[in-house]
Symmetry: C2
Subunit: 218 residues, 2 copies
DNA sequence: CCATCTTTTGAGAGTTACTGTCATTTGAGA
DNA sequence: TCTCAAATGACAGTAACTCTCAAAAGATGG
C-alpha cells in the first residue's frame, strides 16, 4: 500500500528534496529516530489498510513497529497525528515568504501551493493519497484536520502576520487564513475522493478562483 | 454564571421564540427530558467555571446533575457536545430557505445569520457568550467545532444543495460552505474574545464583506 | 578502549472518556 | 388498574492517553 519496500525504509535522499534538507550531518541517534518514526507510520498504514483505522489499536501499531506503546506516544502525540501531521510547514512558509509582498495573498497562496504540491506529488504521491483518502473516510480524522500540530490556518496566519510586519494578526487576517485553510483542505479531499485522477493543481487553481471571485455563481 | 436561577430552570417560553416552538403539547416525559438536559448543561458549566473544562470529569458532572454517567451519555454523545451542540440548526435552515433563490448565497447567509443571532442574543446572550469563551480557551473544543453533530459546513451545504434543487452537492458548493462556515466561526470567536462588546451583527457584516470582495486588501 | 554523561526506551500503574448489556423503574395509554 | 414502551442505573469492559522510574544505548572526553 505504501510505496516503500521493507528493505528500503529510507526514501532516496538524492531524489527527494524534503528529505535531502534534513539529511546533511545526521548523527546515528538522529538517523535511528527518523527510521523509527517512519517504521511506526508504515506499519500503522499497513494495519489501517488491513483492519481499518478504528479497529487498529495503538498497542498493535507499537507491536508491529517493535517499540513500546510509551515510545509510540513519544513519536506521535495522538493516534490521529499518524495521519494528520506532516513535515511540510517549513517548506510552505518559505515558499509563501518568497512571493512578492505587494501581491494579493490569495495569489501568493495559489502559486505557492500549486508548485509545492506538484513537487511533492513526484516523490510522495502514494503516501499523500493514502493519507487523504483516510482523512475523507474516517470521521475522526476529518474533524481532526483543524486540530493537529500543523494546523493550516495557523500556518497561513503566521505568514500573513509576518508579511505585514506586525506583531499581532488582525481580524481580517484571521478570517482570510481560516477561509483559505478550509478551501485548501476541501481541494485535497476532493482530489482524494476522485481517486487522484483530477489534476490537483487545476483543482487548487479553480478553488482559489472561486475565493477571489467572492463565490460568484453560487 | 448562567443566566437562569436554580428556581427558574426553564427559560420563559413566552419571550423565547426558540423555546416556544418546542413547548406546545409537551408530555410529562418530554418535559422531564428537557429539564434533565438543561440541568446537566447548567451543572457542567458551573463546574467548568469553578475547575476548568479539563479538570472536570463526566462523572462529576453526572453526580452534580444527579444522574448516572450512563444517562449523561444518553443526553450528550461526548463531553465536547456539552459546549458544541446546539439546537439552532432548524432555525438557521428555515431562515436560509426563506431568502430568494436568485440572491447570491453569501448575501442570504449574511442576512439570515445577522437576524438570527440578533434575536438569539436577546434571550440567550449570557449562555452563548459563556460557550464561545469556552471554545476560544479550550483547545480541544476549538478543534471540535468542525466535528460535533451540528457541523456548520454541513448545514450550509444542505441548504445550498436544496436551493439548487439537486441531489448531490457540487464541488463549488462544498468549498463555499467550508469557507463560510470557517469565517462565521471566526466571527463568533472574535466576538467572545472581545468580551462581547463588539456588535456581532457588525462583525458578521464585515466578515461577509471580506468574503464577497475576494479578500481585497489582505 | 574506557568512563561518564545524556538521551532514548520500556515497563507498569493510573486516569478518563466512552460502549454495551441487562435488570429495574417510570410515564403513557387502554 | 393493567400492560407496554421508554428511560434509567449498575456494572463490566475497552482504548487512548499520562506519569514515573529504572535500564539501555549513543555521545563525548581522555
Amino acid at each position: 500500500m505504501t510505496p516503500q519496500q521493507p528493505t528500503a525504509a529510507l526514501p532516496d535522499a538524492s531524489t527527494n528534496p524534503v528529505q535531502a534538507k534534513l539529511e546533511a550531518p545526521l548523527s546515528l541517534r538522529e538517523r535511528k529516530k527518523l527510521k523509527t518514526r517512519q517504521t511506526i507510520r508504515r506499519e500503522a498504514y499497513r494495519l489501517f489498510s488491513e483492519q481499518s483505522y478504528e479497529n487498529t489499536t495503538v498497542e498493535q501499531i507499537a507491536a508491529a513497529a517493535e517499540v513500546s506503546p510509551s515510545t509510540f506516544f513519544r513519536y506521535f502525540a495522538t493516534k490521529e497525528d499518524l495521519v494528520l501531521s506532516d513535515e511540510y510547514d517549513p517548506a510552505v512558509i518559505a515558499a509563501l515568504l518568497e512571493r512578492p509582498t505587494d501581491e494579493p495573498f490569495l495569489t501568493s497562496c495559489r502559486e505557492a501551493m500549486t508548485s509545492l504540491i506538484r513537487e511533492l506529488l513526484q516523490h510522495e504521491r502514494e503516501e499523500l493519497f493514502t493519507r487523504m483518502r483516510l482523512v475523507t473516510e474516517v470521521p475522526a480524522l476529518r474533524a481532526g484536520i483543524h486540530r493537529s500540530g500543523n494546523n493550516p490556518q495557523a500556518l497561513f496566519l503566521t505568514v500573513l502576520t509576518r508579511r505585514a510586519g506586525v506583531e499581532e494578526p488582525t481580524y481580517d487576517m484571521r478570517v482570510t487564513s481560516a477561509a483559505i485553510a478550509a478551501a485548501t483542505a476541501e481541494a485535497l479531499l476532493q482530489w482524494a475522493a476522485g481517486g487522484g485522477r483530477e489534476s490537483i493543481a487545476d483543482l487548487i487553481d479553480h478553488t482559489f478562483a472561486l475565493l477571489e471571485s467572492g463565490f460568484a455563481g453560487v
